[in-house]
Amino acid sequence: MDFSLSILVLVIPFVMFLLLGLVGMKMSHKVAGWLGTVAMGVTTVIAYGIAFTYFFGTGQGQIAEGVRQQIVACDYTWLAITDTLIIKLGVLLDPISAMMLIVITTVSFLVHLYSIGYMHGEVGFQRFYAYLSLFTMSMLGLVVATNIFQMYIFWELVGVSSYLLIGFYYTTPAAVSASKKAFIVTRFADLGFLIGILILSYYAQTFDFLQLTGEPTSVIQSAGGATFLGGSVMAWALALIFMGGAGKSAMFPLHIWLPDAMEGPTPVSALIHAATMVVAGVFLVARMFPLYLQETAVLELITIIGIVTAFYAASVAMVQSDIKRVLAFSTISQIAFMITALGVARPEYHEGVGYMASMFHLFTHAMFKACLFLGAGAIIHAVHSNEYTAMGGLRKYMPITNITFLISCLAISGIPPFSGFFSKDEILVAAYHNSAFYGIALSVIAGMTAFYMFRLYYLIFWGEERDYGDHKPHEAPAVMTIPLIILAAVTVVAGFIPFGHYVTWNREAFDIHIDWTVAGTSIAIALVGIVLATVLYRKPSAVPTRMADSCRWLWRAAYKRFYMDELYMFVTHKIIFALICKPIAWFDRHIIDGTMDAFAHVTHYASSKIKGLQSGLVQNYVTVYFIGAILLAIVTWLCVI
């Protein structure tokens, strides 16, 4: 397929957004839903065509000396502000963007299809599809960006569409505050991103990814060794850019928005808050990876943040009772795995396996986590509650959901032959290569992952059967189960993709070797986690409650997410609001407003004093006029003399 068609991938969803957003209310739900889905299907086909042509095509110059070339499919000068400051919009095809095209369009298409069933009869159905199209367009624009400025534009657009979709049920106060929280936290992080972009491009004199990543050494040296607070300026710029990525990818301590974002409809959680938007931070670091390699201190920082986040999120996920929250924390934890994999990746270890592992995990995670979320959506659809206390024994009622959920749980736990095993194994290999400590930490977290996923699985599908009353839960309609089956099928086979042939840090192919010492350990740890969860939660038992009671404070702290939200509330309300905002508000109210009020008061006072002059009696005016005229005449006469 011709690469110039790639612009269609952006145009079709955008046109659908305009169409559904402007005239959607005139359509019936059915027409709007299927129109959006079919358009997304067309986009998916085009994106697949482009990606497959990129990976398997034999066009000229696609692979030169074993290195996959980066192809600029189109480049349009949008703003030429000065000769050097030129902002372009275009499409850049390289392994990671081609892979992301597949991930985004697949998940987006399946979510479109699924939503026809899930959102059936909701108010604002057409609006939902318009927002989905907007999101898809923005996300695709983000991954194919040719320069960092275009990426920033689409970066903000995905933020906006995420905000709109989280706040989709805008009559619920929880959804409104969750959408605001998500927007403000990511915006705050994007401030760092913007400053980073400005510093970087100020020294490098370019926004273009090809120039930035093609000549990383000269870009780093363009700062001329300038330093700031002990670090080089470029390291600061890259750290600030990572801050933007950390905000979008919900890295500790900027993760607080993601669990609350689950207030949005479940398909949205699957599309945005599991598979695509939240991996934008990983994608960003991967995109700028040659630059990060020049500043290894930043990579160390990224690794540490990744490990802390992975551990924190996994421990919180073990005790949550809302199934979507568990999945949200598991998403945070898995993204932290990807971030860590990038942080530990060095070209000297095993051909930079961490980079490949990160992208591989991104791919597999998108599939199985979307499957988990859509499965959770089907369950919520059936029992009308998010709490596991309202579920149990659902395996009899929802066999398809049960099996797809189980497959995804096995994948995320890292059990072969499911896809998660392969990608997680590569991450662990990369971590052990870098340092044994990182490797062991990640192995432990992988065990925790297996435990909390199977805790969730057993609590939903096994355990005590609830009294569902007259309204028995039933299997979801076909439009909802088909996406689940497709995603589960992908999850089963995706691990066998020779990812190392396609996506590597220097775009040279290499073969993945499974390191059986690492793989064996990780399987063993995952099995321990699963067995533990089976023992505790398969049958209703009092042991989990007793364990929770025995260390009450720890359980409570984890349940309350280690008081991170309270900490944020304390910092924002008690410190920032009280110490900074209150004085500023006082200054505004009393000094600035006071000055303006004083002007008004003086004018008002003066006018009330002199208003008696306007008596309405014409003869008074004439008298005053004459007196004035005479006085003027006298003054003039005196001056002349």
Partner: protein, 89 residues
């Protein structure tokens, strides 16, 4: 004569009387024009022509003023200037 006009304009209550005072002032000005023209610049006629203009305009203005007064009388049943003080603050 101009002074008489001013005095009348300020002190009279009746609007017709005020109008008459106004005419008095205008005529005083006209006479001044004519006289100063005659004695200071005997060869020129600007002052005379100006006077003729002023007389014509004064006639029009008087007609207008009378019309206004008639209308005021219709509305207010009164042409005392001191009672017409609606246009104040």
């Amino acid at each position: 004569m101009f002074g008489c006009g001013v005095y009348g304009f300020i002190t009279r209550k009746n609007m017709i009387a005020i109008l008459i005072s106004l005419e008095l002032m205008l005529n005083a000005v006209d006479i001044n024009f004519a006289v100063f023209n005659r004695y200071l610049f005997p060869g020129q006629f600007e002052g005379m022509i100006f006077t003729i203009f002023a007389i014509a305009i004064a006639a029009a203005e008087t007609a207008l003023a009378i019309a206004i007064i008639v209308n005021i009388y219709r509305v207010a049943k009164n042409i005392d200037i001191r009672d017409l003080n609606k246009m104040k603050f």
